[in-house]
Every structure is written in structure tokens, then in C-alpha cells.
């Protein structure tokens, strides 16, 4: 794999650190918590911290305010992804009682609870299921509670006398919105993180609205000052983390998996000078990449909000037929809709990228919750024998590289490729060193010379046909979904032709497996347990492995970046350990796939409640396996 993909490494840089450490910022989905965590990351990132933000969305869209169902939470982790994860948190910012209710069990006993007391009124407490106020008196949950009337203080800081008055510059609502900046100021003070990056961000963001800019800056600074003067808790010194990564002077940005994917598509358009179209619908959670793609401005890349998933995939395939790269983003029940277009792309041998955003539940299910639910559909879910290449990114930044890899396969083999995203790689975000894209390698295409007598289906040594597109004089031909003769566009219903074509398509998958090569796995000798994962759970699984290793268990970790075809060295990987634990957020789909093909002593660890693995549980399973106890 390393030989095949010498792209500049864009993954986060390594660091040394005494971690993990986690912060949670929780509140109503309407409270702007995502922006708050983004700004925290910019401020902390400017100090050299590697930051990883995992959002937890309400299960349903537009949930009622102040209810448990409407809570949005950002968990912020420090350090490299493979060791940053932590089940519990040392610092919880609760902007409302519902957020506290959902996360009170995760806060360390001596952790700090910072709460916006203005939103802990009777109505909000009842909505969250509290009988008494958990911030004060005998019902106080945490002895290190800092209960701050953030809305009132924000109001005063901005200019109490003018708000709401005739001629006021800002409405009550606009002022109230600034309270999360007040909270951010407090959090930054506690972590000794300079505020200048946030002030610069506010200045840039609100430069066209001086009133909002002034109010935002006042609220933010007031929070920082308030923490300094009123806090009873000591600051967390910067040196405590000591995890500044080696990026001094380098240009960094926060990037979500969705942003990374759109950037990769833009890069493909720029590098190949071909039209790259992303066609998708507004079905969550793929709706998020739709909005991001619509804002992309670079030449060659475009976006279309299609009428439904079939329209999206068909439009994308039309782009590919014309010589571009058609891509479609899809989730939930939209994915099976596209099955027939994937099948058609396989039959016609046209490139197509399917960005599949997995979500929890069958049918409508839980649209915004986490799951690795569509592996079976991706690998097997088509009529007839229509193989599909399936990849899965391991982190937000890896979405960039996985998208490039998917495009390389699609363009080199003229085949559809599916990327399985989940909430942990697509919607999470991390610090990312901005790559020099001029150093990324060129894209390859099947060989075709316009003066060659080759027909449109005469394959090269990769078993890829020449990509002859409409407009090429003298090469007019017809293609489509009907079965055909091998190496010819001639439609054929003869049994021997159908047999030959099925073999041809299977052989092409083998060539793709050759192209992908070996999966590099660091498995030292005498390993007791091998943990095998795929998708965005890597950070949690690897963190659990590291903990188990500290307890003396010889455990290795392997991440499957591509799931169909499987790595050439899959058998060796599975046999490198006496026991293999396959961990996935479904009923054990990968485990079943592996068991069908390989002989190995394997165990399946699954979770299907719409949430991520808990490190403690994964670690416990590893320890039990190592001891030979039943799991």
C-alpha cells in the first residue's frame, strides 16, 4: 500500500504527551455549541495542541429546545487520535440542565462543572428531569461546581442600558446568543490558552457587522476576565499537557471529515482538469456535505442537489459517461435506492464515487446517530454479481486521503467505489496541517490512443477498458446495462458470454486488490490479542489497546482501510495473533465476512445503540480475551 500511495502524509503529526484529557461542551442544539468548540480548537491549536472534536448530535433533527432529545455535545480531546480518547471528562460546560443530565455520569468526581445558571430555571429543570437544582445546596452534584449567570453577565458586559431600548443596537436574542462566547472566555482562561486567535476570528467573521463584532468581543473578554477574578479553581497550566505537536510556524486548520472530502474532490477536479460533480439529496447525515459542497468555489468542481437518490446517482453517472468524475453522497434508506445505478456503473464500466454516510437504525431509524450499519449493503447489496470496491476512512483527516484513493481506483479501473463514512470520521474534526497539493501524485487513467483500433471494451493489463467518451470522432459506440460479449460492446444474452463477464468482473476486483496491495500492520511477535477495526472507531479502539498494553497484555491493533476487496495479506493479519477481536458498531458484519473466508480464532465485539464504543469496555474485553475468559 505504501508503494502505491506515496501521497504526502496529511495525517496529524505525532507528539509525546501525558494524556488523555477530555473536555465536554454541552447544551441545546440551538446554543451554537459547534462554533464554541471550533473556536476553542483554533485557540488551543494555535498553541500547538492537537485537537480532536467529536460531536454528538440529537438523534432527531430539530428536536425541541431544552429537552434531553435536543442536546448537542462536543467532546474535545487533546493529543494524537490514537491515544487521545477518554470515556470520562475532567471539565464539563453545561449550558442547560438537559446537557448536564446526559453527561453528569461522565464527569470525574473531582472534575469541574461550569454551568450557565440562568438556564437552570424551573421549566428547564423539569424538561431535563431534575426535581431539584443540581448546581446548589444539598442537591449539588459536584463539589467543584461553578454556577455562573452567563446570560445576565453577558447582557451587562455588552451594554445593559441600551439593550432592548428604543434605538438599541442589538436585540435581546442577539445579545443572548453571545453568552456562549462568555462561556468560551471562561474555558480558555481555565486552560491558560491565549484569547488572541479567537479575537482575530471574531474580527474576520463579523467585520461587516460592527455591532455584533463589538458585542461578541465584549462578551468573550468578559468571560475571560470573570474567570480570572471570580474563579475559585486554579488554572490548568499549559505545561500539564505538554503535547504541542511539531508544527511551529506551519499552517494548520481545523478540518471535519466532510470538509476533507469536499477538498479532496476539488483537488481531483483541479489535478485532472475534468468535471467533478457531487450530486446528493438533503437526507441526513449526508445533508451536511451537501451544504459544504455547495459552498465550494474552485473551478471544475460543482454540486447538484438532486430530486432523490436515484436522480443523484444517475446524474453523477451521466457526468462520468461524459468523461468527468460523478460522485454522490447518500445515507440511510437512500443507499439501497442507488444500488441499481451502482450496478449499471459496474456493467457499463464507468467511474462513480458513492460517499455513504452510515446512520443508526433501519428505515428512518435514528438519522443523526452513530453506526457502521451499511457494510453488508455496500459489499453485497446489489442484484446479480456486481462487485463494489468499499473503503472506510479512519479519521476526519483520513477522509481526504481515502477520497483520493477512491478516485484513483475509480479512474484507473473505471469502476464504482463506495466510501463508508460514519459520524466519527465525517462529522468529527481535527487539527490538520494544510498539505501542499502540488506534491500529491497524478491520477492515472486506462491507456487510450485516439488512433488506436481498440474498441471501447478492449481491456488493458489492469482489466480496465479505454475510457472513450462521447465527442471522440470515429469511436462511436453504445454501452449500457445489458450483458455483453467480453471485450466488446456487443449486447449478448448467450450463457457463455454471461459466464465470461461474471468472471471478468471478479478478476477485475482481484486486480484492484493487487493495486491496493498489502495492509501495513504493526503486529509484533507473540501477540495475545489482535484488535481489528474499521471506520471512525479507530481512535477509541486504539486508545483501549494502549491502555491494555500498559497492563501487560500483548495486544496489537489493525485498521482495515479497505473492506472490499480485502487486503492481500488478510489471512496473515488474522493469523498473526492467537485471538482476534473484531470490533464494529453493528451486529458483526465484518466478523461474519471474515469468518466466511478465513479460518481464524475470532471474537466479535459489537455495539448497536447509536453510540460509540466505551474504552473501558473494549479494554475489559481485551483483558478477558488475554486471560482466556469468555467475553
Amino acid at each position: 500500500m505504501a508503494e502505491k500511495e506515496p501521497d504526502q502524509k496529511t495525517a496529524p503529526l505525532a507528539s509525546s504527551l501525558p494524556l488523555p484529557h477530555a473536555i465536554r461542551l454541552t447544551g441545546d442544539a440551538h446554543d451554537g455549541m459547534a462554533m464554541l468548540s471550533h473556536l476553542f480548537a483554533i485557540a488551543a491549536g494555535s498553541q500547538g495542541y492537537q485537537i480532536f472534536i467529536v460531536p454528538e448530535y440529537p438523534a432527531e433533527i430539530r428536536s425541541p429546545a431544552n429537552t434531553l432529545a435536543g442536546v448537542y455535545t462536543s467532546s474535545i480531546y487533546f493529543g494524537p487520535l490514537n491515544e487521545a480518547m477518554e470515556d470520562r471528562t475532567s471539565f464539563l460546560l453545561a449550558m442547560n440542565p438537559a446537557g448536564l443530565k446526559l453527561h453528569e455520569s461522565c464527569l470525574e468526581k473531582d472534575g469541574i462543572l461550569l454551568a450557565n445558571s440562568d438556564s437552570f430555571g424551573n421549566d428547564e429543570l423539569i424538561c431535563a428531569g431534575y426535581q431539584e437544582n443540581p448546581l446548589v445546596g444539598k442537591n449539588q452534584l459536584f463539589h467543584r461546581t461553578l454556577s455562573v449567570p452567563m446570560a445576565q453577565l453577558t447582557n451587562r458586559a455588552i451594554n445593559h442600558s441600551r439593550v432592548g431600548d428604543k434605538g438599541a443596537l442589538l436585540s435581546f436574542r442577539e445579545v443572548d446568543r453571545c453568552k456562549n462566547l462568555f462561556a468560551l472566555g471562561m474555558v480558555l482562561w481555565y486552560y491558560s490558552i491565549p484569547i488572541e486567535p479567537v479575537l482575530r476570528w471574531l474580527k474576520q467573521k463579523f467585520s461587516i457587522n460592527p455591532s455584533i463584532l463589538e458585542a461578541s468581543q465584549k462578551a468573550f473578554k468578559a468571560g475571560f476576565t470573570y474567570a480570572e477574578t471570580a474563579s475559585v479553581f486554579p488554572q490548568m497550566p499549559v505545561s500539564h499537557f505538554a503535547n504541542a505537536f511539531n508544527a511551529k510556524g506551519k499552517k494548520i486548520r481545523m478540518i471535519s471529515g466532510n470538509e476533507a472530502t469536499v477538498l479532496a474532490l476539488q483537488h481531483i477536479a483541479s489535478k485532472t482538469s475534468r468535471t467533478v460533480l457531487l450530486a446528493s439529496t438533503s437526507r441526513p447525515p449526508s445533508h451536511e456535505i451537501s451544504s459544504l459542497a455547495a459552498q465550494a468555489t474552485s473551478a471544475g468542481f460543482s454540486f447538484l442537489l438532486a430530486d432523490d437518490e436515484l436522480a443523484a446517482a444517475s446524474t453523477a453517472l451521466g457526468v462520468s459517461y461524459g468523461g468527468g468524475l460523478g460522485c454522490t453522497a447518500v445515507s440511510g434508506i437512500g443507499f439501497p435506492h442507488q444500488s441499481e445505478i451502482v450496478s449499471l456503473a459496474t456493467a457499463a464500466e464507468l467511474p462513480l464515487l458513492i460517499l455513504e454516510y452510515q446512520r443508526a437504525g433501519i428505515s428512518i431509524g435514528l438519522p443523526q446517530r452513530l453506526a457502521q450499519s451499511d457494510l453488508g449493503m455496500a459489499v453485497m447489496g446489489r442484484n446479480g454479481e456486481a462487485p463494489l470496491v468499499v473503503l472506510a476512512p479512519e479519521s476526519p483527516a483520513d477522509c481526504f486521503e481515502t477520497t483520493l484513493l477512491a478516485a484513483r481506483i475509480a479512474l484507473r479501473f473505471l469502476a464504482p467505489v463506495c466510501i463508508l463514512h460514519d459520524g466519527l470520521n465525517a462529522r468529527a474534526s481535527q487539527t490538520w496541517q494544510i498539505p501542499d497539493t502540488s506534491l500529491l501524485k497524478e491520477f492515472e487513467f486506462p491507456h487510450f490512443a485516439s488512433d488506436s483500433p481498440s474498441g471501447p471494451y478492449e481491456c488493458d493489463d489492469h482489466l480496465a477498458r479505454p475510457w472513450i467518451t462521447p465527442g471522440t470522432p470515429g469511436k462511436e459506440h453504445r454501452l449500457g446495462g445489458n450483458e455483453r460479449k467480453l471485450n466488446s460492446p456487443q449486447v449478448s444474452f448467450l450463457p457463455q458470454d454471461h459466464q465470461a463477464m461474471n468472471r471478468h468482473r471478479a478478476a477485475r476486483m482481484q486486480r484492484i486488490a493487487e493495486y491496493l496491495g498489502f495492509l501495513a500492520v504493526d503486529v509484533p511477535g507473540n501477540v495475545e490479542v489482535l484488535v481489528l477495526g474499521w471506520g471512525g472507531t479507530r481512535s477509541v479502539l486504539e486508545s483501549a489497546c494502549k491502555r491494555a498494553r500498559k497492563k501487560g497484555v500483548k495486544v496489537a491493533f489493525a485498521q482495515l482501510r479497505w473492506l472490499n476487496p480485502l487486503p492481500k495479506n488478510m489471512a496473515q493479519i488474522l493469523n498473526s495473533s492467537s485471538k482476534t477481536l473484531v470490533a464494529e458498531l453493528n451486529s458483526g458484519r465484518l466478523f461474519a465476512m471474515l469468518k466466511e473466508k478465513f479460518e481464524f480464532d475470532g471474537f466479535s465485539l459489537t455495539r448497536q445503540d447509536g453510540l460509540n464504543f466505551v474504552i473501558d469496555q473494549v479494554e475489559e474485553t481485551i483483558l478477558q480475551l488475554a486471560k482466556g475468559e469468555p467475553t
Binding site: 511551529k248 483541479s270 460543482s302 444517475s314 457526468v319 462520468s320 497539493t437 462521447p470
Partner: protein, 324 residues
């Protein structure tokens, strides 16, 4: 331009496989003739289709062709035009597919004014599935899936297209080769969504369903040939006519003067008169053949947003930072 740009030269090497007497033969012949007369190179012509008897047509044309899935061709055409705006894209749809799985794609493509020429070949029956009803099958027709006769109301394809915003809408007959050729030619040169309903006889499953229009008997009494800026008259010596009045349409009293009927305006900004004309049915009214509507609007691939900036701007995002 490639050689052999005559009608015969546009035939592919595939054996044409339709039932003897099928109206598709005549349509194919006219398509080839029109292609040979157009100032557009063969390699720039692309025919897309889905599933159905008529959808075999791309296989029989020596142009670029793509035979996709039931209903998916409309959007594939849109994608193709986004990637390759310079190509002339045709789409073959039967009434079974066009008013089956392709319906809403078709309506959206019309709304967006996708620059594609849709040949909606309407024989009021699903021939490939051996005579099952479609959304244009006349009320009471005995079909393989309606042994007691169909009971559902029908759609009028041209009226649907006009209502959806199509910028060129016409109707013609498989057997009226000159008229069909004229309509195809105009559609080919139209920039935008061109919808041509071609009434086609299915010899096996719905024979003579258009005999009132295509047969010689009493034909002028049932048919108006629409002409731009000409009165809506028909019948012997054009004695009969149609009149628009109070947002409705009515039969004008028979007259020889020719000025008793309303004037057909295919480029009127008001689509409703054309829509009414496209909905008329025998025996209460004459049925219309010709161009209902032809207006100019920006096409989808022209008005479609395309970025022009340098990729580096997006790569760095709105708020990159340096580690201090």
C-alpha cells in the same frame, strides 16, 4: 465531421428488432434522416434511453449511445450536459417508462430547462411487458393488467411538459413522416428542454389506437395542425375552429372566414392556452399536432453555478492559523 453523414450512414451494425409493423421503424428512419441533415457531427450526438421497446433505438444509431435503467436516463442526460455542454443529447422514453419511474425526473428536468431532446414515444401501452397499461392508456382499455378495462384517468404528456416548464413542446405522428421530420429538426436546434410526444402505433398490443388521427378516414375532422401565428382551424376547408374565451377553450361556430378562431402563439409567455390545446381529446374536441410551445430561457448547464476560483482558497478554509 465524420463521413457517411447520410441517413444510411447513421445506421449502426445492429439488427433492428421490433415487431413487424411497429411505428418505431418510421420514427427511427426520421431520426436518422434528421441527424444526417443537421450541422452537428455524428460524434457530438448522444442518444440515451432506459427500458422499453423504443429504448432499443440508441443501439440502432451509429452515434454515441447509452442504454441505462428504467427511469434513470433523464438525470444521466443532465449529468452529461453538465460535464459536456457542447454535446447534443437525445433521450428516448416510452410512455411506460416516461410516466413510470422517470416521471418526476422528467418534470424536474423540464423545470430546470436541461438541454435535452426528449422523444416521448407514446403508444398508450407497455409493449415490452406484453401489453400492460401505462399512465396514458385510455380509460376502459383491456390490457394484460386490466382484464375488465382500465379504470384510472390518463395523463396528457404535452400538457404535463408545459405545466412543468418545458421550453419546447410538440406532438407528432409516427406515420406523418414529413411533419415528424420537421418537429425533430426544430427540437434538435432548440436550446433547452425539448419534449416531443410521438404518437406511435403498437401493432401487437394497442393496434389502431390513433386511427382517428393517423387513418385516412375523417382525419381532418379530428386533427388540428398547429402553426405559429395561424388560426386554430380544422375540418373541411377549415370551417371549424377553436376559440379561447374566459380562461377556457371552446369550439368556434363553423365559418369559412378563418378569423372566427383564435391565433396560435407558441412563444406566448402565458403557457395556459398551449396547455389547454395539449389536453384536448376526441371526440369532444379535435386533437392537436405540431409545436405547442417554443420559448427561450437560460438552459440548466448555462445557469448552473460553476466555481472559478483557485482551489487553494478553499483548501486553507476561512480560518487557518499558524502555531505560535
Amino acid at each position: 465531421m465524420s463521413n457517411n453523414n447520410n441517413s444510411i450512414g447513421f445506421a449502426s451494425d445492429q439488427e433492428v428488432r421490433w415487431c413487424p409493423g411497429c411505428g418505431d421503424f418510421a420514427i427511427l428512419a426520421q431520426v436518422k434522416k434528421v441527424l444526417s441533415e443537421l450541422p452537428i457531427p455524428r460524434e457530438q450526438q448522444v442518444f440515451l434511453s432506459g427500458i422499453g421497446c423504443a429504448s432499443r433505438m440508441p443501439n440502432y444509431l451509429n452515434t454515441y449511445g447509452f442504454r441505462g435503467l428504467h427511469g434513470g436516463g433523464v438525470c444521466a442526460a443532465m449529468g452529461l450536459k453538465i460535464a459536456r455542454p457542447e454535446l447534443t443529447v437525445w433521450l428516448i422514453l416510452g410512455d411506460g417508462e416516461g410516466f413510470g419511474p422517470a416521471t418526476h425526473h422528467l418534470l424536474h428536468a423540464a423545470r430546470r430547462n436541461v438541454d435535452v431532446k426528449v422523444l416521448f414515444i407514446n403508444n398508450e401501452i407497455r409493449g415490452l411487458s406484453r401489453g400492460q397499461e401505462s399512465a396514458t392508456t385510455r380509460l376502459g382499455t383491456l390490457t394484460a393488467t386490466s382484464p375488465e378495462g382500465t379504470s384510472d384517468a390518463v395523463w396528457h404528456p404535452c400538457a404535463m411538459a408545459i405545466a412543468s416548464g418545458a421550453t419546447f413542446v410538440a406532438r407528432s405522428l409516427d406515420v406523418d413522416v414529413d411533419h415528424l421530420g420537421m418537429v425533430l429538426n426544430r427540437a434538435a436546434l432548440h436550446r433547452g428542454f425539448a419534449f416531443i410526444e410521438i404518437l406511435q402505433n403498437c401493432k401487437v398490443y394497442n393496434d389502431l389506437v390513433f386511427d382517428n388521427l393517423a387513418g385516412q378516414h375523417d382525419r381532418p375532422e379530428h386533427l388540428i395542425y398547429l402553426e405559429h401565428n395561424k388560426p386554430l382551424v380544422y375540418g373541411v376547408q377549415n370551417r371549424n375552429g377553436l376559440k379561447f374565451e374566459d380562461a377556457s377553450i371552446s369550439l368556434a361556430p363553423p365559418n369559412n372566414s378563418n378569423n372566427h378562431a383564435s391565433i396560435h402563439n407558441e412563444s406566448s409567455p402565458n403557457p395556459y392556452p398551449c396547455q389547454m390545446l395539449a389536453s384536448l381529446e376526441n371526440p369532444d374536441f379535435p386533437e392537436c399536432i405540431g409545436v405547442f410551445r417554443s420559448i427561450e430561457k437560460p438552459t440548466h448547464h448555462h445557469s448552473y453555478y460553476r466555481g472559478t476560483s483557485n482551489f487553494k482558497l478553499d483548501l486553507e478554509g476561512a480560518d487557518p492559523f499558524f502555531v505560535e
